[in-house]
C-alpha cells in the first residue's frame, strides 16, 4: 500500500534546512583548534558553530539561501511516482509557508519569483529509482546554496592552462585549480564532489550525488581513496581558510567518483558544497518512519 508522504517530507525539509548532520558538525568543530586563537578564521568557525546550534534549537534555516532542493527517491515497485511527486511538491509549498524554505524559484526568462518554491517541472529536482516491492521507501534531500553552486567547475581534459592531461594526475591538477579559483566565495570550508567522465550533464549530476555520502567515506578503490585524501590535504595548504579570511581550514573532505565516458571526452566536474552541507534522509517502511 502506498502511503501519503506529504507530512513526512515536510518534516524532512524542516530537518534538512535547520539541523546540520552530525558528521558535518563534528568535522567543523574539530577544525576550530587548527586555527589561531583570535584569528578571523577561528572567529568565523565559532560563529558557524553558534549558528548551527541556534538553527537547530529554533528550527530556523541554517542559511537564508535554502538552496536548490535535490531529491533522490527510491520507491518500492508498484508505487506511483506521479503521486510521490505531487506529495513532495505540496510539502515544498507548505515548507515555504512555514519559513523552513525561502521562496527560491525564479523564472529565468521572465525574472519572476514563483513565491512557493515550485517552478515548472524541474524545480524542485526529483530523481526516481525503483527498488524491490519489499524494500522501504527512501527520500534523500540535499539543499545546495547558490553561492557554492556558482563556484562549481567543469574541465574538459586535456586542459593546458594547468597542464592537466587525461589521467589521475590531470584530475588532481584541475581539482586544485578549482579550489584556488573558488577562494572563499563558496562559503569555505567546503566539501568537494568530483566526478570523472560522463557527458557534461551527467557529470555534474554525479558530482552532486557523491555528496550524499557521509564525511570520511572513501572511494572503494585504494588509489582513488588516496587521491581524495591528498586533495583535501593539498587544498588546505593554499591558506584560503574559512570564508577566505586566511587559515588552515579550506576543504573538509573530497569525494571522487567515476563514470564511463566517450573516447573523445574526458570531463572532470567539481561541485563545491559549502560548510552548510545540508543533506538528510527519510525512510518509510509500512507505518515506521525514520529520519537520518
Amino acid at each position: 500500500m502506498q502511503k501519503d508522504i506529504t507530512n513526512e517530507t515536510l518534516e524532512l525539509i524542516r530537518r534538512t534546512s535547520s539541523s546540520l548532520p552530525k558528521d558535518v558538525e563534528d568535522r567543523l568543530r574539530a577544525s576550530i583548534e587548527k586555527e589561531e586563537p583570535g584569528s578571523a578564521a577561528r572567529g568565523a568557525l565559532e560563529t558557524i558553530m553558534k549558528n548551527i546550534e541556534l538553527s537547530r534549537a529554533n528550527a530556523t534555516p541554517i542559511c537564508q539561501d535554502t538552496g536548490t532542493p535535490i531529491f533522490y527517491v527510491h520507491y518500492p515497485e508498484g508505487w506511483s511516482t506521479r503521486k510521490l511527486k505531487e506529495q513532495i511538491r505540496s510539502a515544498m509549498v507548505e515548507a515555504t509557508k512555514r519559513s523552513f524554505m525561502r521562496p527560491n524559484a525564479v523564472d529565468a526568462i521572465y525574472d519572476k519569483n514563483s513565491g512557493n518554491n515550485l517552478g515548472g517541472e524541474d524545480f524542485p529536482t526529483i530523481h526516481f529509482e525503483e527498488v524491490d516491492a519489499d524494500q522501504p521507501l527512501t527520500v534523500e534531500l540535499m539543499l545546495k546554496g547558490g553561492g557554492c553552486e556558482n563556484v562549481g567547475r567543469q574541465y574538459s581534459l586535456p586542459d593546458n592552462s594547468v597542464g592537466a592531461g587525461r589521467d589521475l594526475a590531470g584530475v588532481r591538477k584541475v581539482v586544485l585549480d578549482a579550489v584556488q579559483k573558488a577562494q572563499g566565495y563558496g562559503c569555505a570550508p567546503g566539501i568537494l564532489g568530483v566526478s570523472i567522465g560522463g557527458d557534461r550533464g551527467s557529470s555534474y549530476a554525479k558530482s552532486k550525488e557523491v555528496l550524499f555520502s557521509k564525511m570520511g567515506t572513501r572511494n572503494a578503490d585504494p588509489e582513488i581513496a588516496k587521491l581524495e585524501e591528498r586533495l583535501t590535504d593539498e587544498a588546505n595548504q593554499m591558506g584560503i581558510g574559512p570564508m577566505g579570511f586566511g587559515g588552515k581550514t579550506t576543504v573538509l573532505d573530497t569525494k571522487i567518483t567515476g563514470m564511463h565516458r566517450l573516447p573523445a571526452s574526458y570531463f572532470v566536474t567539481v561541485s563545491y558544497m559549502c560548510w552548510a552541507y545540508r543533506r538528510r534522509k527519510l525512510t518509510v517502511k509500512g507505518e515506521e518512519v525514520e529520519y537520518d
Partner: protein, 209 residues
C-alpha cells in the same frame, strides 16, 4: 572589539583596516542583484525612466543610505501575509555579482559600508577609497545567528516588484559581527590571499603525481 554605529562618519570609516573585526549597530538596508540593477539604470546611468513609485522610494532610501550601510542579503522573512515582518534567516550573499555597480552606488548614495561575502574587485576597492567606505565581510551561511542581531524590521521597499529575497528591507541591528576585508586605504584581503594561494597552487602543480 571595535564597535561602529550607523550613520558612520568619514573619520571613523577611515580608521578601520583590513583584518579588523567590527560589531555594527544601527539602521541598515538590504539590497542585492535586482536593487543594484534598478539603482544603476534608473538613477545613476539613467538608461531607464522612473516608473511607479520609483522616485518616492528613491527619496526615502537616499536618507537611509547617506553615511549608511548596504547589506547584500536576501533574507527569509516571516509574517509576510500579516505584515508583521520578522527576520528568520539573514546571512550575506555573494557580493561579486554587484561589482559592475557597487562603486557607483556607493558614491551616488554616500554609503560608508557594504556588507556581503566573498569580497569584491578593483573597481569597488577604488570606490571604497573615494567615497570613503569599506567592505565588511559577514559570515556566510550563519543566517539564524545573524537574524538574531536584527532587533526590528522598520520597513520594506519594492516587496511586490522584486520578491522577498530581492526587496529592500530596512532593519535595525545590534552587534552585527563582521570583518573588514577591504578598506578605504586601498587594501584588500581578497587580492592578497588570491595571490598567495596562487603561488602555493603553482608549487603544487609542479610536483609529480
Amino acid at each position: 572589539m571595535r564597535e561602529l554605529t550607523v550613520p558612520i562618519s568619514d573619520e571613523d570609516i577611515r580608521s578601520v583596516h583590513i583584518g579588523e573585526p567590527v560589531l555594527l549597530s544601527g539602521i541598515m538596508m538590504t539590497g542585492r542583484d535586482a536593487v543594484h540593477k534598478w539603482m544603476s539604470e534608473t538613477f545613476i546611468k539613467k538608461t531607464r525612466q522612473p516608473q511607479g513609485d520609483d522616485l518616492q522610494v528613491y527619496e526615502e532610501i537616499k536618507k537611509i543610505l547617506d553615511q549608511g550601510v548596504l547589506y547584500h542579503c536576501g533574507p527569509v522573512v516571516s509574517g509576510i501575509a500579516t505584515k508583521e515582518y520578522k527576520f528568520v534567516a539573514a546571512g550575506p550573499t555573494t557580493s561579486t555579482r554587484e561589482e559592475p555597480y557597487q562603486a557607483d552606488v556607493m558614491k551616488h548614495f554616500n554609503i560608508r559600508g557594504v556588507i556581503g561575502k566573498g569580497g569584491m574587485g578593483p573597481k569597488t576597492l577604488k570606490g571604497c577609497m573615494e567615497t570613503p567606505g569599506v567592505y565588511f565581510h559577514a559570515i556566510g551561511g550563519a543566517a539564524s545567528f545573524l537574524a538574531q542581531t536584527v532587533q526590528k524590521v522598520l520597513g520594506v521597499y519594492k516587496l511586490e516588484e522584486f520578491g522577498v529575497p530581492e526587496a529592500m528591507w530596512v532593519i535595525e541591528v545590534k552587534d552585527f559581527p563582521v570583518v573588514v576585508t577591504m578598506d578605504s586605504h586601498g587594501q584588500s584581503k581578497h587580492s592578497t590571499l588570491d595571490e598567495s594561494s596562487k603561488q602555493v597552487l603553482d608549487e603544487l602543480l609542479a610536483k609529480p603525481y
